[in-house]
């Protein structure tokens, strides 16, 4: 019995560890994009529609994961400090005055890696397991 409990406890812990690991996302741009770092507020400005340009003036196209996917939840919680409902409320305030549309969402990490890898103006985020040579990780201060 105790060993069984222990096993359950271990697998719970494993689950927890793996979900935490899954939830670790990094911000990426195309390797052709010279951008090396952004402040948290610059990142928030890009993802909340306050600007459509990188700090160097080049046009920026942010892309999202699907709403409520683990990467989406982790990104908005850890980098922007916002819940999905807050993000939705923010965009509903902008959309209905014609002041912008939220970033396009892509179906999975592979699609996101492909899109960002092929577009010098794109910025996205993904689980670091999906990093490849076409992408550059952006340091967030």
């Amino acid at each position: 019995m105790p060993s069984r409990l222990k096993r359950i406890g271990c697998s719970l812990l494993l689950c927890l560890v793996s979900s935490v690991a899954l939830a670790e996302v990094v911000v990426v741009v195309s390797a052709q994009n010279p951008l090396a770092k952004l402040t948290r507020s610059e990142l928030a400005d890009l993802y909340l529609g306050r600007t459509s340009r990188f700090p160097n003036g080049q046009p920026a196209t942010p892309v999202d994961h699907r709403e409520n996917s683990p990467a989406y939840l982790a990104f908005y919680r850890e980098y922007l400090g916002q819940t999905p409902a807050q993000v939705k409320m923010h965009w509903s305030r902008l959309i209905f005055t014609g002041r912008g549309q939220p970033p396009h969402s892509l179906p999975d990490s592979k699609a996101l890696a492909d899109f960002v890898g092929e577009n010098a103006s794109a910025i996205g985020y993904l689980d670091d397991a999906h990093l490849d040579e076409r992408l550059r990780v952006v340091a967030i201060d």
């Binding site: 507020s41 400005d45 306050r50 600007t51 459509s52 340009r53 046009p59 709403e67 409520n68 400090g81 916002q82 819940t83 999905p84 409902a85 807050q86 939705k88 409320m89 509903s92 305030r93 959309i95 209905f96 005055t97 014609g98 002041r99 549309q101």
Partner: protein, 411 residues
């Protein structure tokens, strides 16, 4: 009516023209979005009706103690990006209109040109940026409450103008400042009871409207200030004041002081909000001034809420007070008693009230929120507050309790 139709046809043509040219440019995008509210309100005052705004004749209270017509509405919006710099928005809203119908009206219909990413011009039917939450005042999902606090938002019930709008965004380090100026005109039909008590409609017309609003965003803090002035005419009241004009210079003076015939109307409003994510506080203050029988009033509210997971309980305290006199001696000469009494009823019935609201928002799903709200409204002596259609048994200066349920959605 035909003017409105030709306007919408013109906008559709611009849209179609823009869309076809954009297809060739290879960068078009069309987005359809919608919002809406299904809401019911119960009022415990059965001698008058609580309505969403002065443009709606029916509400909760007198004719039905529960009403689904106060807060329910549906909005559809088509946004077209023709090129990165040139876009257009058309938004249709259906809600109870002045004649009790639900015919959709054009809320926004404008074309926008971004001269730079931070400097844009819009022409057509554009937002009137008079309050901090004015741009999405009809989008229940975007608001913490069932409806915006009436002590501020009902003072200027108009949400759009036909004209132009200039917006300039500038950043100072972490501060984003957005300055907006609009110029244009608007007219709105409203229901009212004539001297015989029959329901009819009037037309209020605002011309030469200039509104300047400034918005500062600094992290979780948002500050707002706006000034607006326009020339207001409500033709339906002119015949009444013309009677005063028959009585010579003293009558003229009364008519000039109180009529609504091309009179300058000024509005100042301030707002602040601080949103930490798990809690927020927000407040607005507004003042209106004119030389009409419509009172010079000050209204304000403070509200706060706490987000406990998907549930956000909130509390709001609001007050509206009249600065100008709520009575007039009138002509006070033999034969003018009835005339003076009507003038005084116009003045004394202006909204003066305080209200306390308690509510909770439940974010059921990412695009669906359910809200429940209790309002306790105290009318000051002699005031009807914002209640309409008072019956002979209605006593001004009383209090009214409302219970509201609303389901807000966006898509």
């Amino acid at each position: 009516m035909s003017k409105k139709q030709s306007f919408s046809v013109l906008v559709s043509l611009i849209l179609m023209w823009g869309y076809t040219t954009a297809v060739h440019a290879g960068t078009p995008s069309l987005s359809l979005n919608g919002f809406g509210t299904l809401g019911v309100v119960h009022s415990d005052e059965d001698q008058a009706a609580f309505v969403s705004n002065i443009f709606a004749p029916r509400g909760a209270g007198h004719s039905s103690d529960w009403s689904a017509e106060v807060d329910s509405r549906l909005g559809l919006q088509l946004t077209a990006d023709f090129t990165p710099r040139f876009s257009s928005v058309v938004q249709l809203v259906t809600e109870q209109r002045y004649d009790g119908s639900y015919e959709p009206t054009i809320e926004w219909a404008n074309v926008r040109f971004d001269a730079t990413p931070d400097f844009s011009l819009r022409a057509g039917r554009v937002v009137l940026p008079i309050f901090m939450n004015a741009e999405y005042r009809k989008v229940g999902y975007a608001l913490p409450w069932v409806r915006p606090p009436q002590e501020v938002y009902k003072t200027i019930p108009v949400s759009n103008i036909d004209g132009i709008d200039i917006s300039y965004r500038h950043r100072f380090g972490e501060i984003v400042n957005t300055l907006r100026a609009t110029y244009g005109q608007t007219h709105a039909e409203f229901p009212y009871r004539d001297l015989n008590g029959d329901l009819t409609s009037g037309d209020s017309e605002s011309r030469e409207g200039v509104t300047i609003g400034n918005n500062v965003e600094w992290g979780d803090l948002r500050l707002f200030a706006a000034y607006s002035q326009f020339r207001l005419t409500i033709e339906e009241f002119n015949p009444f004041f013309d009677i005063y004009r028959f009585y010579g210079p003293r009558g003229e003076a009364i008519a000039d002081r109180y009529d609504v015939d091309d009179k300058r109307f000024e509005v100042v409003s301030l707002g602040a909000s601080f949103d930490r994510g798990d809690w927020f506080v927000m407040g607005e203050w507004t003042q209106t001034e004119s030389r009409t029988f419509l009172a010079d009033s000050r209204g304000w509210y403070v509200t706060g809420g706490y987000r406990a997971g998907a549930i956000t309980p909130y509390i709001t305290y609001a007050k509206q007070h009249i600065q100008s006199s709520t009575s007039s001696p009138g002509l006070a000469q033999p034969g003018t008693e009835e005339l003076d009494a009507i003038l005084n009823s116009f003045l004394s019935h202006q909204p003066q009230q305080t209200s306390l609201s308690l509510g909770a928002r439940w974010d059921v799903a990412p695009n669906l929120a359910l809200k429940a709200q209790l309002d306790h409204i105290d009318h000051e002596d002699g005031s009807h507050g914002y209640l309409v259609n008072p019956q002979p048994g209605f006593e001004p200066g009383g209090s009214v309790n409302l219970f509201s349920l609303a389901l807000d959605f966006v898509f």
